[in-house]
């Protein structure tokens, strides 16, 4: 069959291969191994390859724009050229397979970690923070637990409480202070990677996304609760981890803050 008579399916396969090829449109057409002039007509001003090049050029622009929307701090830190190069490689390996751009960037942190890019450990942390923010932004809305909910549980049942976290909550542990770096970006400052372990809760309340720094102890305890442990079990996990029991005042402060921030949607008493 001459190329001009390509059936619909092979024509679409061919055009997609050209449009998404990482090289320029001439390399793309050569790799697709069909005669462009036999498939696409010229216009009065553009040759077939130039017309095809419009779609080819717009493809990567769209991918970079979509990824920059989710990873604005990573893009700012890398600069336009390096970020564009990162996205080119990323979408070759993880092209969009969804009707929405929303989840296009889900695998970027892992892709960065596996890459040879400079500062990749810091960028991995920063990308995980930005990914968590997009996930929390889109999660289902849930009514938070009333602040006094724990107070209604009889004292003898407190240790048997199991919490259901709101869907819009992510807990993150970093090797760099990614939150400080992101805040600096938000305020228009320079992003300076600062090594040092840090812990963060990313959550949403009234349709706004918040970043709440946590101590390692609070992160561990909250992580246990979010993973489905009862308060009693979380205390034992804490004891194994830190070789001490959480202090009463610590527990009071944590639950007061987490309730105020609306991190829990429900409680149940485990029999």
């Amino acid at each position: 069959m001459p190329p001009s008579e390509l059936a619909l399916a092979p024509l679409q396969e061919w055009m997609q291969a050209v449009v998404t090829h990482p090289g320029d449109v001439y390399e793309a057409a050569e790799a697709a191994a069909s005669d462009v002039d036999a498939i696409v007509l010229p216009s009065k001003t553009l040759q077939p390859i130039q017309r095809l090049g419009i779609y080819h050029g717009m493809y990567m622009l769209r991918m970079v724009e979509a990824m920059e929307a989710d990873y604005a701090a990573v893009a700012h830190f890398l600069g336009e050229h390096a970020f564009g190069h990162l996205v080119e490689g990323y979408v070759q390996r993880f092209p969009s397979r969804s009707y929405t751009f929303n989840r296009l960037g889900d695998k970027l942190p892992g892709y960065v970690a596996d890459s040879t890019i400079k500062q990749r450990t810091f960028l991995y942390d920063l990308a995980r923070l930005e990914l968590a923010m997009t996930q929390v932004f889109d999660e289902a809305e849930a009514e938070p637990l009333p602040a006094d909910a724990i107070g209604t549980v009889p004292p003898e049942s407190i240790e048997a409480i199991r919490f259901t976290p709101i869907p819009a909550l992510r807990l993150l542990a970093f090797r760099y202070d990614a939150n400080e770096a992101f805040q600096s970006f938000r305020e228009g400052g320079q992003i300076r990677p600062r090594r040092g372990k840090s812990w963060l809760a990313v959550h949403r309340r009234d349709y706004s996304v918040y970043r709440t720094p946590l101590s390692q102890e609070a992160f561990t305890f909250l992580g246990s609760l979010v993973s489905g442990e009862t308060i009693g079990s979380a205390i034992m996990t804490f004891r194994r981890r830190f070789r001490r029991l959480p202090e009463q005042q610590e527990l009071f402060t944590w639950f007061r803050d987490w309730s105020a921030e609306g991190l829990f949607a429900a409680i149940a008493i485990t029999e």
Partner: protein, 290 residues
């Protein structure tokens, strides 16, 4: 009135994120909003909350970019299920998407890629439009795209293809007069012929937008005011369809809401068909500007 008895909603504006606060805060006097379907399908966050709030006060139409109605991958029924549910939630007056394909082999290029206009494409697309309309339980409304290539395998014009598709699949049409102008420039055809050939009783909506003229070709960027030639095409379309739901799209370099709304409201000057008076416009848009 169109054959589907879908109402003339008046002059609307495309709902965009940057205008959320203004709309919620001031409740502007807009006839209706068009929401981009995919932006609201997989989110339980602020976009969905805002859309549902706005739908309480304004008529909503859902407009998609990822249905890939001309694509050769299987129809994505998971997408359609979510789309149908969203349409029910916001009481969408109708659901539209483009005459195009957006990817194959499970991929989405996120572009409105052009179809070859021939019998095979027509049969294929008409069958899919019928399946989707049956699933959504309402006639799908199909928009003419802007395009930058023409295929050697095309055997008919875009307007003949669109008319035949509408006839065979019994779909509605969203006539984008800016897209007609863009494609007429890129492919050197007379846009007046296109407008005149469209089955007017199937047109349920018209799109207006700006574009970017690169001299050798025009890109449909939705980043500017509507040019006079496109207004003339709009007037020509209105003269054939009667007053029809009209919407202004502005997707890049988006100005404040009042500017977009004011641009949309220029359409009101052309919506005087019922009184039998049309504003003075050139009879025909100058053909083949290249």
């Amino acid at each position: 009135m169109n054959r589907f008895h879908l109402p003339d909603l008046g002059v609307g504006v495309g709902l965009r994120t940057v205008h959320y606060s203004h709309i919620l805060g001031t409740q502007p006097s807009v006839d209706w909003f068009e929401a981009l379907s995919e932006n609201y399908l997989d989110t339980g966050g602020r976009p969905r909350f805002v859309l549902e709030k706005i739908a309480e006060q304004y008529p909503i139409v859902l407009h998609g970019v990822s249905m890939s109605i001309g694509g050769t991958d299987p129809i994505d029924f998971d997408y359609l299920r979510k789309l149908k549910a969203l349409a029910a939630t916001v009481n969408a007056r109708w659901v539209s998407d483009h005459l195009c394909w957006t990817g194959v082999s499970g991929r989405n290029v996120h572009d409105l890629l052009p179809m070859p206009y021939n019998e095979e494409s027509l049969r294929h697309t008409a069958e899919r439009v019928k399946i989707v309309s049956d699933f959504l339980e309402c006639p799908l409304v199909i928009e003419n795209p802007s395009s930058y290539v023409e295929f050697a395998s095309s055997t008919m014009t875009e307007w003949d293809f669109l008319a035949a598709l509408a006839q065979e699949s019994d779909c509605g049409l969203l006539l984008d007069v800016n897209n007609i102008y863009v494609s007429s420039f890129n492919h050197s055809f007379d846009p007046n012929v296109y407008v005149d050939a469209i089955p007017a009783d199937r047109v349920v909506q018209v799109h207006l937008a700006g574009h970017t003229n690169h001299g050798t070709h025009i890109i449909d960027t939705h980043n500017d005011f509507v040019i006079d030639e496109v207004w003339q095409l709009y007037a020509r379309a209105c003269a054939r369809t009667g007053n029809v739901s009209t919407l202004m799209e502005w997707d890049a370099d988006i100005p404040d809401f009042e500017t977009v709304h004011a641009e949309a409201r220029k359409a009101e000057a052309f919506r005087t068909v019922s009184s039998g008076v049309l504003p003075a416009v050139a009879d025909e848009v100058a053909y083949a500007s290249v």
